[in-house]
Symmetry: C2
Subunit: 184 residues, 2 copies
């Protein structure tokens, strides 16, 4: 069901600009937050995310230096939006939204079974001045059993755009596509 | 044709995860580069972009501290991909790809007439350790005369995804949508 992918492919899942569900584990409980302010930083797969102290998961991220960046398909859009409206450790969002956990290998935070992709990450830096957390990918898993493959993007005004037509410019770009990411 | 939008809306164009065309002016010549490693950082509209010294525009960005982040629709996808494969100041990419320039008001770099959105920006920081440039939006213009409204997202392996269906969760999220961005 979940297949391992080379970590070199991590950036290809973030570059698209997906809305993500980021899980953490504070030593006692798992938590999950919705983040759409994310960024692929380089071909090594470093990911920048923007969050701050108003977010409960933020403190856990800085303390444990671990998380999983999970990417939901449009089948989970309502759950993802609603998770984004709930803050704090007291809500068991996994139960509330029927999200199943799968144990990660490199971090304590869980992968979400219903998501398409999971990127287990270490927090390697926090740029306080700009509210940016820098993540390093440790492991990438891809759920190849989901019927729905389309992810979705947030506009920020309450609207979301679902993936549409796919266009392939590999022949134009091939000199710039790292060898390990030529097939997803 | 180009209408002014409040700067408060800048982040809504970046949060989607578009492929962007970023223009610069080095004092003599205009230049344009394709960047899909971008990020909405906050509601003030700060934008992080990832680039480095291998990119000619990078030096201009650091010297002039100005640029315009232009967002093309899928009508410009081939031009945008090809611009991403051309480096250096010697190619007049505007002529080569029939892109028309419109003067900006706050910066010397031009807006691209065929793009949907233009965000005139100041460079306010460079985080050398992570190769991130931080932009502050000064002015947002929106081209309301384009027939094509769909933008596109890069996967990084040569493929691109065009915007598909739009879904509206404003009623769920409204507490979290800043007042000025409730309509785009």
């Amino acid at each position: 069901m979940f297949v391992e992918l080379p970590v070199a492919k991590a950036f290809t899942f973030i570059e698209e600009g997906p809305v993500t569900l980021i899980t953490t584990n504070d030593g006692h409980d798992d938590n999950v937050m919705t983040i759409s302010w994310t960024m692929a930083m380089n071909y090594e797969g470093h990911i920048a995310i923007s969050t701050g102290p108003w977010n409960h998961s933020f403190n856990t991220l800085l303390e444990t230096k671990e998380c999983v960046v999970c990417i939901p398909t449009v089948d989970l859009i309502e759950e993802t939006v609603r998770i984004g409206t709930i803050n704090g450790p007291k809500n068991n969002k996994f139960e509330l939204f029927n999200l199943s956990k799968i144990s990660s290998l490199k971090v304590k935070a869980p992968m979400i079974k219903q998501c398409r992709t999971g990127i287990e990450c270490h927090v390697i830096d926090y740029i306080e001045k700009h509210g940016l957390i820098i993540l390093e990918p440790l492991r990438v898993v891809f759920n190849d059993s989901l019927k729905e493959a389309k992810i979705f993007h947030a506009i920020g005004d309450g609207r979301f755009v679902v993936d549409g037509e796919m266009k392939d410019y590999y022949n134009v770009m091939k000199k710039w596509v790292p060898e390990k990411v030529r097939k997803k």
